[in-house]
């Protein structure tokens, strides 16, 4: 009888090096005039802490790609999608201008589509993108915000992205409820707990990018450190 124990050791297939799967997340952050002072300082500190947390996690640092749009006068992409080692330092937002939420949502959708096209062109697999809108006011760009909101809600309903809305103190929650995904109503940020929110966001992205996270809904950490009762999981 042949002893095959030794033979098994010689079966050593070479593994192909494929790119890591990407977790794209886009943050639409209110940087309008009403955020001047303590709110924008707390927001900037929270964003910096978020990038620090992502960098500390091995899987997240390879997989999570974060883009940031500043909502203020004309919305601008202050940080494009990139993994933590490819992007520069955390952006610092200034508070000025109005709150064109509609134009910001449109810019966000375009940035996402551009990034997905790049992924597809290079054979990079990606998970469902997450989009966060954080505002302390009301949209100032006429009916544009209603059209944009409809697009995003439809995308959320068709599971093309997961859309989250957060209102800072002073936000027009009536408008936010019209913008938010019906399955995921807006949450109110307690006081200026941006640091707690961004810690929660980095923990959520670590869950979403974990090596085992391929096939199941992503469980979200509790939101009570920064909001009331809230979202519990996101379908893959």
């Amino acid at each position: 009888m042949t002893d095959w124990d030794g033979k098994a050791e010689f079966l050593v297939p070479d593994f192909v090096e494929n790119p890591e799967n990407r977790c794209p997340v886009i943050l639409l952050l209110d940087a309008s005039a009403s955020m001047a002072g303590a709110p924008i300082e707390a927001l900037n500190a929270g964003v910096a802490a978020y990038f620090d947390e992502i960098a500390r996690d091995e899987a997240a640092s390879l997989r999570v790609e974060t883009a940031i749009i500043a909502i203020g006068d004309s919305p601008r992409l202050v940080r494009d999608f990139a993994t933590i080692d490819e992007a520069g330092p955390s952006p610092v937002l200034d508070a000025w201008g109005k709150t064109p939420i509609g134009a910001s949502l449109e810019l966000g959708l375009r940035a996402l589509e551009t990034r997905k096209a790049l992924y597809r062109a290079h054979g990079v697999h990606y998970y469902r993108p997450w989009m966060f809108l954080i505002t302390d006011g009301a949209p100032t760009d006429g009916i544009l915000w209603q059209e944009a909101a409809q697009k995003i809600q439809e995308a959320d309903m068709r599971r093309k992205l997961a859309f989250f809305t957060i209102g800072v103190e002073g936000a027009d929650f009536s408008a936010l409820h019209q913008i938010a995904a019906p399955s995921r109503p807006p949450l109110a940020l307690k006081e200026l707990r941006f640091k707690e929110f961004f810690f929660w966001l980095s923990a959520s992205m670590r869950q979403a990018s974990a090596p085992y996270a391929g096939h199941h809904a992503v469980p979200l950490p509790p939101v009570d450190s920064w909001a009331g009762d809230g979202w519990t999981q996101v379908a893959r």
Partner: protein, 277 residues
């Protein structure tokens, strides 16, 4: 000359700490000296009973293929070109019916048993194959390097795929009939794709499959090939890299012991049921 064949599957460490058994399954069967039938399935991670789904689908597909494969695939070339896809259509229908019967018996929705399915029937001159969902089925011969036989079906997002239980699964199933020399076949579930298939163009990574081909050149019995596959699927090298359940089925047309009809699934070797009562 004969087919040397083996299949094995391994529960992924993504399930550790849970009661979820391996949701992959595979089976390969010799029919006479020239014909080989195989099927593998990957149960949906989110479907609670997909380990039943994978096993029932594979068993039903292989049984259905065994009934008529000789006539429609092993016969004349003209007949193969005209009717070679039919056994695979029937195999998929049988697999789906088996899931329906299980769902009915257990009083659970069909979707609880969701699984992908890859099935094939081959001779050294031709192959007919079906793919619903992700995973890979590749073949090669001395004159044609490793190449995919079927196109996988994916959603837009990583790990998003279609399942046999989806309403439009049969409409979108990829069924092919190919007449070409076949001396090597390999089928694997999604878990192994990340290390064996190049994402940028979807093509097989030859250095992954070549060692199995070479291993086969020394193997005389199915059990020898099985030993090698089992060792690989349980190796630290693989399990550190891949957290998912994995299944690998390999067939090689080689000098070996002449076979009658024989079933090969890991249970034949280990006599241990894996997660199904």
């Amino acid at each position: 000359m004969t087919w040397i064949t083996a299949v094995d599957y391994q529960r992924g460490r993504s399930h550790s700490g849970t009661a979820t058994p391996c949701q992959d399954f595979g089976m390969v069967r010799h029919i006479g000296p020239n014909l080989v039938i195989g099927a593998i399935a990957d149960g949906a991670g989110s479907a609670p009973l997909s380990h039943f789904g994978a096993r029932d689908a594979v068993q039903a597909a292989v049984d259905a293929l065994a009934q008529n494969a000789c006539a429609e695939v092993g016969g004349a070339s003209e007949k193969f070109r005209q009717t070679g896809k039919r056994p695979l259509v029937r195999a998929a229908a049988s697999a789906l019916a088996a899931l329906g019967a299980r769902a009915s018996k257990m009083r659970r929705p069909l979707s609880d048993f969701a699984a992908t399915l890859i099935a094939f029937v081959a001779t050294p001159e031709r192959i007919a194959a079906l793919q619903i969902g992700d995973g890979f089925l590749i073949a090669s011969s001395p004159s044609k390097p490793y190449h995919r036989l079927c196109t996988p079906q994916r959603g837009e997002f990583a790990h998003e795929t279609v399942f046999l239980t989806d309403a439009d699964a049969m409409e979108n199933a990829n069924i092919v009939t190919v007449e070409e020399p076949i001396s090597f076949i390999a089928a694997g579930t999604d878990g192994l794709e990340s290390v064996s298939i190049r994402q940028k163009d979807g093509k097989p990574h030859a250095p992954f499959f070549r060692p199995f081909d070479h291993y086969l050149s020394d193997a005389r019995e199915d059990s020898e090939l099985h030993h090698g596959i089992r060792g690989f699927l349980r190796s630290d090298r693989l399990t550190e890299r891949v957290a998912d359940d994995v299944t690998l089925l390999v067939c090689g047309w080689r000098h070996g012991t002449s076979k009658q009809t024989q079933d090969r699934s890991p249970d034949v070797y280990t006599q241990v049921a894996t997660g199904v009562s």
